[in-house]
Symmetry: C3
Subunit: 198 residues, 3 copies
């Protein structure tokens, strides 16, 4: 079940990376690179930081080939994929929540404290998107999109995992991911915004 | 004593990162990300390269929370912090010297030779600032600010540590940091400039 | 023999990095940083990912000093180096082929499958150039230069190494590098282009 959700999240991340490559007018290789980087970049940064080398994504052949396949499909049928904006928004949020919660678990296993665990979770969730943005020549969206609680939601979800994990591992994973999803989705509905400097 | 100076250097780096985020008009999360990346990015790159995983900063909870607190304070009171340009310049130089010297020590412990040690020291000193600049969508200042001997000063300081460490460890650390500080500060006063291509 | 070719490839990569720094108007330090990053960045990213820490380039003092020397020479004599466009193109292609094949070998040693090996090889070949472009404030050329089969050629060469390595190690290395070189050079001559989104 968790495994299936990870696949879903990874492939949606791949699709958002590929869409960015199409939007930028990159060639097929550029689109595949952005798909791959967005899908497996965050988890790989986290694996490097906690010392799991090679990163688990590099050792997951079926996942890598599926990411490339998604990249190809988006490259070929991008107008239809772009029309799926709403489901992509929700699936991307689900992926964010999952990766943040799983990254927090890896941080706990590496013996990190609350802030370290929150950073490991947040990097797992947003690191791929940050790499995608930097490679595309853009400032990472998480730094200035005050109306989209994205990295903040991942940070909160990872903290939830940290707090609940000693009591109940599976519930911690589930509730951490849920906290991320709820904060992002309801944050937008309620018009929550991060403050900006005065 | 060294420990206290490391804290001071890290927190000043956090402040310069947060100021960059404010200047760019990033939101609160963006400001905190730049504070964190600038403060612990250089040492973390170095720790990854020498194989100290997780990086020591990720395991230092009091430091991480303090970095976030500095980010919050700068976000809230940035006009007052910006007015402290001169003390920030000197404290930032002190941080640079310390991190370069400490990074050089980590390189020596990893068995590197002089150039490797100098790179480890330089990356410790300037890596966080380079990440801050790239995430902000800017070309890293160390690449073109010919009139500010910043990375060059870190490189020199790390070489001093390499040369003196076999004789006297503590003096090496102190004199390496001092070399960096003196080269940067007097380089500016004397109008020293790195050459640019003709 | 292979060792001599690695040196040649590394130094040509250093020259292309230094040329980019000159073109950008960076100062001497910036030129040396780009030379170093371009020359040893790809192999270092790969070493981090497969867990060879410190990366082999950081432990190769003669190579590091030679890279810096090349950076100095390009800084001083850049008009003459720029005039060598054609030989640099071929030597750069040779370096790409070699690094991709050697990176694929490191990936095989780390127990990766075909896609992981291809990624390890490609990152070895193009990672330094990607870092060079990002630090220069540019979108990496491999993402959009549809008429230059660069990263694609590295990917193919690494796959060739993966396929042939179990049968004959040395031939695999040689034929993998050759596949990269041929695809890039004849791709250009035949006007092959990667597709771009419609």
């Amino acid at each position: 079940m968790v495994e299936a959700l990870i696949w879903l999240g990874t492939l949606v991340f791949a699709a958002t990376g590929a869409l960015k490559g199409v939007e930028k007018g990159f060639d097929l290789l550029g689109v595949l690179v952005l798909a791959t980087v967005t899908a497996v970049g965050g988890g790989s940064i986290r694996d490097v930081l906690v010392g799991t080398l090679p990163p688990s994504a590099l050792r997951n052949e079926p996942l890598l080939w599926s990411v490339a396949l998604i990249g190809l499909l988006v490259f070929r049928f991008h107008p239809r994929v772009q029309a799926l904006e709403r489901p992509i928004y929700y699936l991307d949020t689900l992926g964010l929540g999952l990766f943040a919660a799983l990254g927090a678990e890896r941080g706990l296993e590496a013996g990190l404290g609350p802030f370290g665990v929150a950073l490991a979770g947040t990097l797992s969730g947003v690191g791929g998107g940050v790499l995608r943005d930097v490679l595309s020549g853009e400032v990472p969206g998480i730094l200035y999109r005050a109306g989209d609680l994205y990295a903040s939601a991942a940070f909160l979800g990872a903290l939830v995992v940290y707090a609940l994990h000693p009591h109940q591992e599976e519930a911690a994973l589930f509730l951490g991911a849920l906290a991320t999803v709820l904060l992002r989705v309801f944050g937008r509905r309620l018009g929550l915004r991060l403050p900006t400097p005065k």
